[in-house]
């Protein structure tokens, strides 16, 4: 199995990073690197990067520290305000619905007048005649068609208009 590291590679890398390679290092280290695949690769890659790093650092146009700090503060405050004003999430809605359902169940199980009203409604519903209801509805459409259509239009149009107005705001 080929070794992945050489005990001298850190020394070679240090020499390149300190701009001592190859002129200002021990002869022994230079001789070793010449015949060590790992050290010669380290020297080759590190020297290529060293020149590139200097050039990049010199040409980098990084913004001023004060500007970065100030903009970060501004952004953090904006985000804090957005977080504070965020509408309730779906999880909170589900939790609220569960709580309301639970309260309703407790109320239904303990309230006698509520149970009596529920029984009366269910007995009325059992006697409900669907055919007679449909006949009454169709008669109403024939006699007051325009009024019914107007009412339906208002019921649909008003919420739509309100929604569009609010969305524009």
């Amino acid at each position: 199995m080929k070794p992945l590291e050489c005990e001298f590679e850190a020394e070679v890398l240090g020499a390149v990073l300190q701009s001592r390679w190859p002129e200002h290092v021990d002869d022994q280290l230079r001789v070793h690197a010449a015949c060590c695949a790992i050290c010669s690769e380290v020297a080759s890659v590190a020297r290529a990067f060293d020149g590139s790093l200097e050039e990049l650092r010199a040409s980098a146009q990084v913004p001023d520290a004060s500007r970065v700090w100030w903009q970060a503060q501004l952004r953090a405050r904006r985000e804090a305000i957005e977080t504070a004003g965020r509408p309730i999430t779906a999880v909170q809605l589900v939790a609220f619905a569960c709580a309301v359902g639970l309260l309703g169940a407790c109320f239904g199980a303990t309230s006698t007048w509520f149970q009596a009203t529920l029984k009366r409604i269910s007995s009325n519903t059992a006697g409900f005649d669907v055919a007679a209801f449909l006949t009454a509805v169709s008669t109403m459409f024939v006699e007051h068609g325009a009024l019914v259509i107007g009412l339906v239009a208002v019921v649909l149009l008003v919420p739509t208009a309100v929604y569009v107005a609010l969305a524009r705001d």
């Binding site: 992945l4 695949a37 790992i38 790093l53 990049l56 650092r57 970065v68």
Partner: protein, 192 residues
């Protein structure tokens, strides 16, 4: 990303003064930390992304996330590791979003695009590095740059890239071998 500051923003700062914005360090400490690390970090981002404009954006985003991180740092090197970890993750996310595997060498934004006549030789060498790096995977580019340009230790590189030190060594070995070959060396020419 940061948007440009306007006079409206200036006027609003007073109104926002009461809102809590906790940073991991105060302004003076940040200034020093920024001065010591911004250029090196920008060079890292430019090398990993291959794009100046993206490096500019990611640099500011990295420092912002660093400031907002709910962490305590034991030392300067711990802070620096954290900074590079954030930068690496942001570069990774940006790459995934743009679905670009190799560095983008587009007109006007490539990282060798600002040289003058005197720098022609250095620029050519830097362009060789860019070409060679563009043949490597993003993670290989990041680990090589950290190891051989920044002189980071294995622990630091593993921390920045989110991998184990034991996994890093063979990966770094293979990446270095590839890079050396791409730079025109014969990596099998010598014996270890």
């Amino acid at each position: 990303m940061f948007r440009d500051t306007t006079f409206n923003d200036l006027g609003r700062t007073d109104a926002l003064a009461g809102v809590s914005t906790e940073f991991v360090m105060d302004e003076e400490a940040f200034r020093g930390f920024y001065e010591r690390n911004a250029r090196g970090l920008w060079a890292y981002l430019a090398r990993v992304t291959g794009n100046r404009e993206q490096a500019d954006d990611l640099l500011q985003e990295t420092f912002y996330r660093f400031l907002r991180a709910a962490s305590t740092y034991e030392s300067e090197s711990h802070r620096r590791n954290s900074l590079y970890r954030i930068a690496t993750n942001l570069a990774h996310d940006a790459r995934r979003q743009s679905l670009v595997r190799a560095p983008v060498i587009s007109a006007g934004n490539d990282i060798e695009n600002v040289s003058t006549g005197d720098q022609a030789g250095a620029t050519e060498r830097s362009a060789d590095v860019t070409r060679a790096l563009s043949s490597l995977k993003p993670r290989e580019r990041a680990m090589l740059w950290l190891a051989y340009a920044e002189g980071a230790s294995h622990d630091e590189i593993a921390g920045a890239l989110g991998i184990r030190v034991a996994s890093l060594k063979p990966m770094l070995f293979r990446a270095r071998r590839k890079m050396a070959a791409l730079l025109g060396r014969k990596p099998d020419g010598g014996k270890s």
